[in-house]
């Protein structure tokens, strides 16, 4: 379409600003990449920018050759897929129903749910509950408690409420019931929000380490972040403990002396690279639903 001159200039300015922003992001990222390929003790001297000074693949070796890592990779994949799928399935449905103003008890449900965003029991009661539900030390403790999120329900509700009311009315006149309408019409029209929340949830599952750390003891069930933490810890605590032979105090931040920045950087790369592609993949769903046009006709 024809653009006026001022519009073209505005375009260039916008693109320029965006690209500048991208540089501020890329530089640290490339820096971390360089450090991950640099010898740990050399990194400590400082001064690495975009290129490794003392190239090595030893950091990746330490991180990757541990056989437990491959296992935890699969656990994370399973957790992310199952967790996100179940989350979307139940929470979207929840959000959809809540978007209907004629839903009976709607206000009650809303307050019932929002209350839990502000008041929660804390770790110990939750742990005891999981224990009673026999979820401790199982794979499912990472999935089941994450099935519903009130925040995401609100997001879904907001988006579903934007769907044109006339569409539903005409569908119902044709004999469509709620479930049918939801699955066959509402969902396909809402691919952007489903994609967005899927991305959020997938990233959440992929990045979590704390829940598994506390609720799971079995090494074979640990997801990748928890396992990586352990691998880095194992590597550094080995060196630390050798130091302990000579003296018995000054433990404050001692760990930091030994944690190889290079090792941490390599670990970060290993976990980040897979998940980065979730968003570009989901992006193609950020398009309008196909059926809205039919409304005009």
């Amino acid at each position: 379409m024809l653009q006026s001159r001022s519009e073209k200039i505005a375009n260039y300015i916008i693109i320029g600003l965006l690209i500048m922003f991208c540089f501020t992001v890329l530089y640290p990222f490339l820096n971390i990449l360089a450090i991950s390929f640099n010898v740990g003790t050399d990194t400590q001297k400082g001064g690495i920018t975009l290129w490794p000074r003392a190239f090595t693949t030893e950091n990746y070796y330490v991180v990757l050759h541990d056989s437990r890592l491959l296992n935890s990779f699969f656990i994370s994949v399973a957790r992310t897929v199952l967790g996100t799928a179940s989350h979307i399935f139940f929470t979207a449905m929840f959000g959809y129903a809540m978007s209907k103003k004629y839903l009976l008890n709607r206000k009650f449900y809303m307050i019932f749910s929002i209350f839990t965003m502000y008041f929660s029991g804390g770790l110990i009661p939750v742990f005891l509950l999981f224990r009673d539900l026999k979820l401790i030390d199982t794979f499912w403790v990472m999935v089941i408690p994450n099935i519903i999120s009130v925040w995401d329900m609100i997001i879904f509700r907001t988006f579903f409420s934007e769907l044109p009311v006339e569409l539903e009315e005409s569908a119902k006149l044709d004999g469509c019931n709620d479930y049918l309408y939801y699955f066959k019409i509402a969902i396909p029209l809402s691919t952007p929000v489903i994609a967005a929340v899927s991305v959020f949830n997938a990233i959440y599952h992929w990045n979590s380490w704390f829940d598994a750390a506390v609720f799971i003891n079995n090494e074979k069930l640990l997801p990748i972040q928890t396992m990586l933490n352990n691998i880095i810890n194992a590597n550094t605590s080995a060196q630390m403990l050798m130091e302990m032979n000579a003296s018995a105090q000054e433990l404050i931040s001692k760990r930091q002396q030994f944690t190889s920045k290079s090792l941490v950087s390599a670990a970060m790369m290993v976990t980040t690279i897979p998940i980065i592609f979730v968003y570009p993949f989901a992006q193609k769903y950020f398009t309008k639903g196909i059926m809205v046009g039919s409304l005009k006709g």
Binding site: K45, G46, A78, I124, N229, S237, A238, M240, A246
Partner: protein
């Protein structure tokens, strides 16, 4: 896609199957290692205490309560461990908190399920836990006897809980008077030489030296302190003789066998004033308060400083790492650890800037969840004996040593001398009941066999300076108030106040401002309940002194 749900269902099914298979596989806690069922009858190194016929296999869990801990190998992969596993049938599983130690412990307590042995720092938290779930060891103390012999009755008595029972087994305890430490001062050799090697003993000397450095080398940081000013106690402690530096961390000063207020001891203020003066004149690195450990190490490795002071300067990771880096430029480069700078007029041999506790680094205790507590104690007790320590630390006889010398220290053999550093680092196994005096003695003996140039920088720094400027802090054990008590809350406030005002004092623009902040600190500490807190500390301190007897 019109029906994302169908694809999802398919994916879900596949992954469900996969995950069920995976979770099915991971039924047991122990992965990998075979439990040593081989019952080889006793070989030459069997300790008498373990043997009765063929040893019944013993398996137990040992939880190490630190965020940073994660085992880097399975039990049995190190020489000593392998020997123990195969000839004694003992298998230990070291449990890590997966990086969330406090939470993990809380859940254990809430669920009332514990590992067999727990290792954690001494203190009020450990004491409470022990009294609730720990197994008393008194009945077996003399039966197996190694802790008594090696750590000493005094140490064990100090470790008794409030109900008089002994439960906690010390780790890296120190018997005798050979204390250790890592804190102190290092100087940049090259700069020192170029400036004529002036006398560097008192703070006046130091100030003059730093002024000269600043003048001659404008791009060099004259003096670098370590992150969070861990070295503060090193400076404060050098203003008196025979300082008890641990007291400064508790915001108190030991004076005439009593714990008194920092405001009753003028040298405390003198120390703070000196720090302020040096910082104000620009001699100390200006990022002293925001420096991360990484940045500190960077400075050490770059050599762009004349003097450095740190709470852990004599360790491999700090002083030695910096030295190794600098020495690459030539033999006249590098760092040297010097005797601590002190106040003019004091006897330098009585300067104590380090502390150590004969009680060691941390403790382990057996919990009520253990099925065979006595057998576990029997083993751990053996482990802390000279034989056990030798095996776990240096390997069994015939591997890297064949004989012991007159002190009982193993003499490294040719295989050891030919071994690479990496190989040597793989010899010691997991040792959580270390006998410091014995191990350090053995290592020192080993080190002394090497010609001078080859000795480790850190060992040399420790042996020549750090270990000589240290004092036993055993009397400080258990005097800290419990966190839930009123004094405990006062302590939290004092920690914040002191930290806050210290920064303000150091950053003061002039003497007047320094004085002002000092007075403000005094007032706020008083309002926070400083006296009550000190009272508590001193009462406990006196109790300890009494336990230790008149020395």
């Amino acid at each position: 896609m019109r029906k994302p749900s169908k694809i999802l269902v398919l994916l879900v099914t596949i992954i469900t199957v996969l995950s069920l298979v995976l979770s099915g596989c991971g039924g047991n806690k122990t992965s990998g290692n075979t439990s040593g069922e081989t019952q080889t009858p006793g070989t030459s190194n069997q300790p008498a205490a373990e043997e009765d016929g063929k040893p019944k296999p013993l398996k137990f869990t040992w939880y190490i309560h630190y965020d940073w801990f994660s085992p880097d190998h399975q039990w049995g992969e190190r020489l000593g461990e392998k020997h123990i596993l195969e000839t004694m049938g003992v298998e230990i599983e070291f449990v890590s908190p997966n990086g969330a130690a406090q939470q993990k412990l809380a859940t254990m307590i809430a669920a009332d399920e514990f590992p067999d042995v727990i290792c954690m720092d001494r203190g009020p938290e450990a004491n409470t836990l022990m009294m609730n779930v720990g197994v008393p060891l008194d009945d077996w103390m003399y039966k197996y006897g190694n802790f008594v012999n090696e750590a000493g009755e005094e140490t064990i008595n100090m470790l008794r809980n409030e109900d008089g029972k002994w439960r906690q087994m010390p780790n890296w305890y120190i018997s005798g008077d050979k204390g250790n430490g890592n804190s102190g001062w290092i100087i940049n050799k090259k700069i020192y030489k170029e400036l004529g090697e002036p006398r560097l003993e008192t703070y006046d000397d130091l100030e003059a030296y730093l002024a000269k450095v600043k003048q001659t080398y404008p791009d060099v940081i004259p003096m670098v302190v370590d992150p969070q000013w861990r070295c503060k106690r090193v400076i404060l402690g050098s203003f008196v003789e025979n300082a008890d530096v641990w007291a400064y961390d508790l915001h108190a000063v030991v004076k005439d066998n009593n714990l008194v207020s920092i405001f009753d001891e003028p040298t405390y203020k003198e120390g703070l004033y000196t720090i302020y003066k040096l910082f104000n004149k620009g001699y100390i690195n200006q990022d002293a308060f925001t420096q991360t450990q990484e940045q500190f190490l960077e400075k050490l490795k770059s050599g762009n400083l004349a003097v450095a002071i740190s709470g852990a300067i004599a360790t491999e990771a700090e002083g030695e790492a910096g030295h190794i880096e600098l020495v690459k430029n030539g033999p006249e480069y590098g760092y040297k650890m010097i005797w601590p700078i002190h106040k003019t007029g004091l006897n330098k041999d009585n300067i104590k800037v380090n502390d150590f506790s004969s009680l060691g680094w941390n403790i382990s205790f057996i919990t009520k969840s253990a099925k065979e507590p006595e057998r576990i104690f029997e083993f751990i007790d053996w482990l802390t004996s000279k034989e056990g320590q030798t095996i776990i630390q240096f390997g069994p006889k015939g591997e890297y040593w064949d004989e012991v010398d007159e002190n009982g220290y193993p003499i490294p053999n040719q295989r050891y001398h030919n071994a690479s550093d990496d190989e040597k680092n793989l010899i010691p196994g997991n040792n959580w009941v270390g006998n410091t005096s014995f191990i350090d003695g053995a290592k020192a003996a080993r080190e002394m066999l090497l010609p001078e140039g080859q000795r480790k920088w850190s060992t040399e720094a420790q042996v020549t300076v750090a270990f000589k400027t240290t004092k036993n802090s055993v009397a400080a054990y258990g005097i800290q108030p419990p966190v839930e008590s009123e004094e405990g809350y006062i302590r939290s406030r004092l920690d914040e106040l002191v930290n806050n005002y210290f920064a303000k004092m150091v950053f003061a623009k002039n003497d007047g401002e320094f004085e002002q902040q000092f007075e403000l600190m005094k007032q706020e500490m008083h309002e926070a309940g400083y006296e009550k807190y000190l009272n508590y500390l001193n009462t406990k301190y006196q109790e300890n002194l009494a336990k230790l007897g008149a020395k």
